[in-house]
């Protein structure tokens, strides 16, 4: 597959690793922001082939795992209603709320369906006028244009049986929260490639300047990530702290203005609670007032649903790169993908889940390298 296969090429990867080896003269800590980037690192064993002095810590880049517990509970409350067809991305189905997950709810008779695209949920609403179709609109800024388009289409078609449960989260406030944390160890970031394809790179410039950290916007394939790491290390060695676009084949500096315009039409920035971290100001999207008719929380009166986080879980520290999954005493024992205790284990992109899936809790070889 073009633009995928060549970025998985072993020879190119090897050459980049050799270059990183030559360039890094001191230990550096680099965080990749996106869960998809974490997935690639663990799947291809990139952290195994890097020199030990370049340490990768995994970031909060998983909108699924940071979806607050109470939002999951609200999703359950809505999905349990007999008139509702609850549509969601596959990732959300196994995220546990206070009373099990959506898959379990489906087993008990709720109409919960996986869709690939929010636009499919709108089609479902059109085809089923007697049912209430609700779409679980989660994601980072990357998914906002598609979610916004779904709402816009529903409005245009005058659909009274479509609504969205919104739990969008934004990346820049999360990076700031990580950097402002007392025990922050992150010295450079691999920025979120597809978020920036939508939003552009300008939001990251003040962060790089204020905190003196290089931010290299990177793609998701092994060659992309190694290239990003090389550039980050070069900047660190030179004492630089710039925003660099290492994913220029897909990211324009200004992002996608048409997408941003639609997103601004449909959503507005708000405070959001991040599971395992707490509330980060101005870190989420909600529907604008004029579109609140499409707000499922309001339509089904679930705004009041509250929940309590588990005290055992150290997700917050893992999300901020302060701890590794293996540092948690519950990792691989009480806390597994089947019985997750918190944010970073609940989705396949969470650092703990990724480590577990690729056997890091069993992997003696990886343990030796740590």
């Amino acid at each position: 597959m073009k633009y995928l296969d060549e970025y998985r090429d072993g020879a190119a990867a090897k050459a980049l690793v050799a270059a990183i080896e030559k360039t890094a003269t001191r230990p550096w800590v680099v965080m990749e922001v996106c869960g998809g980037q974490t997935h690639t690192i663990v799947r291809y064993g990139l952290d195994q082939v890097l020199p030990k002095r370049v340490e990768l810590v995994h970031g909060p880049g998983c909108p699924v795992c940071v979806t607050p517990l109470e939002m999951i509970d609200r999703a359950h409350a809505v999905a349990a209603r007999p008139e509702v067809v609850f549509c969601s991305f596959g990732d959300m189905l196994r995220v546990p709320g206070s009373h099990g997950d959506l898959l379990g709810l489906r087993a008990r008779g709720a109409d919960v369906r996986v869709v690939y695209s929010p636009l499919d949920a709108v089609k479902l609403a059109e085809a089923n006028p007697s049912r209430q179709v609700v779409f679980f609109a989660i994601g980072f800024e990357t998914t906002a244009p598609a979610n916004a388009m779904a709402v816009w289409m529903a409005q245009r078609k005058g659909l009274s049986n479509f609504s969205v449960l919104v739990s969008h989260v934004l990346v820049p406030p999360a990076l700031t929260a990580i950097l402002e944390s007392e025990d922050n160890r992150v010295q450079a970031f691999l920025g979120p490639g597809h978020v920036c394809a939508v939003m552009g790179v300008s939001e990251y410039e003040p962060i790089a300047a204020r905190h003196r950290v290089p931010i290299v916007i990177s793609g998701f394939e092994p060659v992309d990530l190694l290239d990003g790491i090389l550039r980050a290390v070069k900047q660190l060695e030179a004492g630089e702290a710039k925003v660099e676009n290492a994913y220029a084949r897909a990211v324009r500096a200004e992002g996608n203005p048409a997408s941003r315009a639609l997103v601004e039409q449909v959503f507005e920035v708000c405070d959001r609670a991040w599971r395992g971290v707490g509330t980060i100001p101005k870190s989420g999207y909600r529907l604008r007032d004029e579109l609140r008719a499409f707000d499922a929380e309001r339509r089904f009166e679930v705004e009041g649903v509250r929940a309590q986080e588990s005290p055992l879980c150290i997700s917050g520290e893992v999300l901020r790169g302060l701890k590794r999954p293996a540092d948690c005493p519950a990792f691989g024992r009480q806390c597994t993908p089947e019985t997750p205790l918190g944010a970073t284990m609940v989705s396949s992109e969470g650092a703990c889940a990724a480590y577990h899936a690729y056997g890091r809790h069993l992997d003696e070889r990886a343990a030796e390298r740590r």
């Binding site: 597959m1 073009k2 633009y3 995928l4 060549e6 190119a12 050459a15 980049l16 270059a19 996106c34 869960g35 998809g36 880049g61 998983c62 909108p63 699924v64 991305f89 690939y116 695209s117 929010p118 636009l119 499919d120 994601g139 980072f140 990357t142 998914t143 244009p145 598609a146 388009m149 289409m153 245009r156 979120p192 490639g193 597809h194 978020v195 394809a197 939508v198 998701f220 060659v223 992309d224 290239d227 220029a248 084949r249 897909a250 990211v251 324009r252 996608n256 048409a258 997408s259 639609l262 992109e349």
Partner: protein
């Protein structure tokens, strides 16, 4: 996060007031909304996330890293003159 896959635009048309494209990913094709990448033409590649095109792939930028790697390789060979230059 943000599983976005590059695919080749095969055809573009208006459907229901929205710009839609048939996009090929390896051996399959699927419809994607092209509303925010209206400049994409058949033969272009776009990054698609949840059925939505985010941006067009810039061929020249895509080549950059491989050109750089080729330069690096050539430099390495120059620095080690006892190696055979291909």
């Amino acid at each position: 996060m943000c599983l976005g896959i590059p695919g080749k635009v095969l055809d573009v048309r208006r459907e229901d007031g929205m710009l839609m494209a048939t996009v090929q990913f390896g051996g399959i094709t699927k419809q994607a909304c092209l509303e925010h990448v209206p400049e994409a033409r058949p033969g272009d590649y776009v990054v698609v996330h949840v059925g939505f095109a985010l941006s067009r792939i810039d061929e020249a930028e895509a080549r950059r890293i491989f050109e750089l790697l080729a330069e690096m390789k050539a430099l390495d060979e120059l620095e080690a003159p006892d190696h055979e230059v291909p």
